[in-house]
Each structure stands twice: as structure tokens, then as C-alpha cells.
Symmetry: C2
Subunit: 297 residues, 2 copies
């Protein structure tokens, strides 16, 4: 097994993802200039491109060329970006900064931010139809994307998160929030990649569990970084969860238990990967799981 | 040619559309109860189901069974409902009433309304994948839906509408707003139906122009009803466009010219239908065009 470096791996894939997103954001007479500007401001504000990279890494792990599926990678990032813009709105988390820059509504106003989010949501589904793959597999991928981002996925998680604020949150409620708000959209690229590779049901189930495990570890790290991270590295204010009365792993389990949970979920995820028989390059997914458990931003 | 009655026609199709939408809104443990309630409140608040009916009427006009495509009809209505919820938000049109009921954010709060809209947008794409039709045609239909609702379609129109408020609006700007904000999503069911029927490019082009023509007539009627309609029949406050400095056909062209424009666009639309060679039942689409030009709500 070769060694794996996320930053290097990302450098190669990230460029292709950015170029693909750029193509969908080319200004034209039907695309109002201001709307284009607002969307580009958030899409190209930086970020790890984790969800696209997970899709492309899954495809490459199966030994499948990833280029024909770049539109699906762009779609995942468009959806992620929309969720950040809407989550930051005054009626939601009311955040002023994101990735070291003013949030969309602070910079362009609320109406523009709402519409930029709506536009990105629709653009994700416009982009994914351009994937070069058998139509029946593409439809299954679109279904995954819609499920993971929808009323039984990410939107469900955000709704629960908003309405549990300042309430006594049980471990079950916390699990619901994080599974739906974060992990569903981290498991989606794994499932979509496996579908594109025509993987067995058993392998899809293993990769789904891998996705939920690293997604949970990712969210617990997020909660930890809010408490032990520093603002400059994070590009946003830390220690806001407590102020807001947000339900987090740290507030429910404490710092030490949360750290242990990250390691446990990561180890569990890695152990699952070994059982996915069709994988030619399991080291890509293992490398990403390890990288996520050590991140500082 | 048999006579056509929209209300009777709608009664048959509307029930099937409502049942299909209901299926996607069945409560389950992954779908938070409050989110479900907020969405159902707006989806089942009444309305003409115009976009679904236009899709089903197009299919029937081509002599194609419409039942297998009911999920696409539901998708159109989900998208329309999301657009109403977000357009009513305080940062947008700030409306308190819609269809005679409190708007979503007035009833449930802003965060819930934003998330209900987001959820409906994703649910539209989740629903449409369930259509029973060849996968390659379905992908083309999904592409239409994403284009019409997206940054070069409905969202573009809403953005232009918001940012032209209280500015001197030229006829060109007004055309851009209405073509994108309203007509694109009225032409979409026509195009989707024609695609499902494997219609010729010529027929698709004719039906697209039909859609834009009745869409424009529909929007001009909306502007007229805001001035000459009564609140009770409309289910919302009238005469708000002027207060807001909204760009409307009536403010640019006056009442009489606007009425003439409705008749002209409707006559033009009907003349186009005669040229669509494959249609077995042109009377459905002609009937809808006539109905829309005479509506009082």
C-alpha cells in the first residue's frame, strides 16, 4: 500500500473540480451578473472540496476513470455551498464570517444570499445530468443526490438542529442531527461512486457505513475544533456553539470522549474498507479517513 | 373538436397529482414532523396545479398515457410551491398572506419557511426520478426541470425582479423578468411532455413558444389582477405591486394595452398549436390557453 497525502491528492483533483464548476458558472445573458457574482463568491471562497474528492476517490478506488463523472463532483460541491449560504442566514445560524470572508448575506444582502442558495441547489441537478455514464446508473446517482440533500437527509438535519437549540438534547437527537445534517452528504459520494462502478449491494452497504462513520468523525471534529481550535485557522469565530445553545458532541460527551469517538469511528471506517472486494485502490479512501481525523481546520 | 372545461379537466388530473404529492410527503422517522407539517401546509393550500396539469395535458394531447409520469407532475408543483414560499419571505416580497392563509414564515417562522422551500426543491428532483419512462428521456426531462427552475431560469427572474424594484424599468428588463420568473416554468411542462413523447425538434420548438406565450399572458393577467382584482377572490392583498415599486406590465403599458397583450399572446399560442403535427388532442392545450386568458384569480 502506497502512502497517501490529502493535500497532494486534492491538488490534482481539486483543480478539475474547480474547472468543472467554473464551466457551469460562465456568465451569459440569461444568468444575471449579480447572481453570478454572489454564487462565485461562495463557491470559490476556498474549502477542502471534500465531497467531490470523496466521489472521485471512490471511483479511482474502483479503478474507474473519474473524468466523465466530474459534473457529479461539481454537483456535490454546489449542494454543499448552498447549504453553507442558507445555514449562515440571519434566520438560521446568523453568521457574519465563513472561511475568513464575510458571509454571503453580509456581503450581498439576504435576498441575494437566499437566491444564490436556491440557484446552487438547482444547478447541482443541472450539472449532474451531464455525466457521461449509462442513463440508468445516472438516474440512480441523481436519486442518491436528491435523497441525501433533501427532506429525509440534509434538510431534515438542519431542521432538527434549528429546533433543538436551547433544549436538552438526548444522544439520540444528537445522532439524528449529525447523521442527517452532515453524514448523509458525506456518505452520498461514496454511494454514488459505488453505483457508478456497478458495485455489489454488499459493497455499497459497506461503503455507506464507511461514509456515515467518517461523516460522524468529521462532525465530532467540527464540534471539537469549535472548542479547541483557533479562529484564524478556522476562518470563522470559534466557541459559538455554546453561546447558541447548540447540541454538540462536546457538550453532551465532553472533550476527551469526543476525541476517542473520532478515533473509534475512523478505525471502524478503515476496517470496513478492507472488506470491499472490488476495490483496486483502498488506500485512497483509507488516506482520506485518516486525514479527516487529524485535521485542524 | 370537443369543448373543454378547465375545472372539470382539473378535477380529474388534480386528484392524481395531489395523491402523488401526498405519497412523497408521508411522515417517516427520517422526515422531521415539523418540516413535514410546514411543507404540507403550503403544498395543500389550494392552487390551480397549472404546471402539473400542463404536463399531463401535453402528454394526453400526444395520445400518451400520463400516469407513469405523475412523479414529474408532482415535481413541477413542488418547485412552484418552493418558489412561492421563498418569494414571500421578509427579505423578498415580505407577504403575510397567500391563497387566503398566512404565508409559511408568518405561520411557522423564517427558518422553517426557508428549509421547507429548500426541502421542496430537493424533493422535486427526488420525485422525478421515479417516472416510468426510458432512462435517456428521463434524463432530458430532469435537465429541463433544472434549467427552467435554475440560475438561467426562475431564479434569474426572481433576482432581476428583486433588484429592479424602485428602478426605471425598460420593456426589455420587464420581458427578462417575466420570461424567466414565470414563463420558463410554464414552458417547462410543455417541453418535458414533448420530450417524453419523443416529439420532433420542430414540435418541441412550437410547444416551447406556446409555453412562453401563455406564460407571458399568465403573468400579464397576474399584473392586471393585482390592479383590477379583489382581495377576497385572489386570497392575497391586491395593489401591492405599485406600493413596492414593482416592474409590471400594467405600470409600463397601462391596463388597456395589457389586456390587449393577453388576448394577442393567447391567440398567438393557439395558432402555434395547429402546427404541431403529432398532436391527437390539441383541444386540451387550446382549452387551457383560453381558460388562462379569462381567469379571475
Amino acid at each position: 500500500m502506497t502512502s497517501f497525502n490529502y493535500d497532494e491528492y486534492y491538488k490534482n483533483l481539486g483543480d478539475s473540480v474547480n474547472k468543472t464548476m467554473d464551466k457551469y458558472l460562465t456568465p451569459d445573458p440569461n444568468f444575471p451578473e449579480l447572481l453570478n457574482e454572489v454564487i462565485r463568491y461562495s463557491v470559490f471562497a476556498g474549502g477542502k472540496r471534500l465531497r467531490p474528492v470523496l466521489l472521485l476517490a471512490t471511483l479511482e478506488a474502483f479503478g474507474i476513470e473519474s473524468t466523465p463523472l466530474l459534473p457529479a463532483a461539481a454537483a456535490l460541491e454546489f449542494l454543499h455551498t448552498y447549504s453553507l449560504i442558507h445555514d449562515d442566514l440571519p434566520a438560521m445560524d446568523n453568521d457574519d464570517y465563513r472561511r475568513g470572508k464575510l458571509t454571503s448575506h453580509k456581503r450581498f444582502g439576504e435576498a441575494a444570499a437566499i437566491l444564490a442558495g436556491d440557484g446552487l441547489l438547482a444547478l447541482a441537478f443541472r450539472a449532474i445530468v451531464d455525466c457521461l455514464i449509462e442513463p440508468d446508473l445516472l438516474i440512480l446517482m441523481i436519486k442518491e443526490l436528491a435523497e441525501a440533500s433533501g427532506v429525509r437527509g440534509m434538510v431534515a438535519g438542519q431542521m432538527a438542529d434549528m429546533y433543538y437549540e436551547h433544549k436538552t438534547v438526548t444522544p439520540d437527537m444528537l445522532e439524528f442531527i449529525h447523521e442527517h445534517k452532515t453524514a448523509a452528504m458525506i456518505a452520498a459520494p461514496l454511494r454514488m461512486g459505488a453505483i457508478a462502478a456497478s458495485a455489489s449491494d454488499e459493497s455499497i452497504a459497506l461503503l455507506t457505513e464507511f461514509g456515515y462513520s467518517i461523516g460522524l468523525a468529521f462532525q465530532v471534529m467540527d464540534d471539537l475544533l469549535d472548542v479547541i481550535g483557533n479562529d484564524q485557522e478556522l476562518g470563522k469565530r470559534s466557541r459559538v456553539d455554546e453561546e447558541r445553545g447548540k447540541a454538540t458532541y462536546v457538550s453532551v460527551y465532553g472533550i476527551e470522549e469526543s476525541k476517542k469517538l473520532v478515533d473509534k469511528q475512523t478505525a471502524h471506517a478503515i476496517s470496513l474498507i478492507q472488506h470491499v472486494k472490488e476495490l483496486e485502490h483502498p488506500e485512497y479512501l483509507i488516506g482520506i479517513a485518516k486525514y479527516l481525523s487529524k485535521r485542524s481546520q
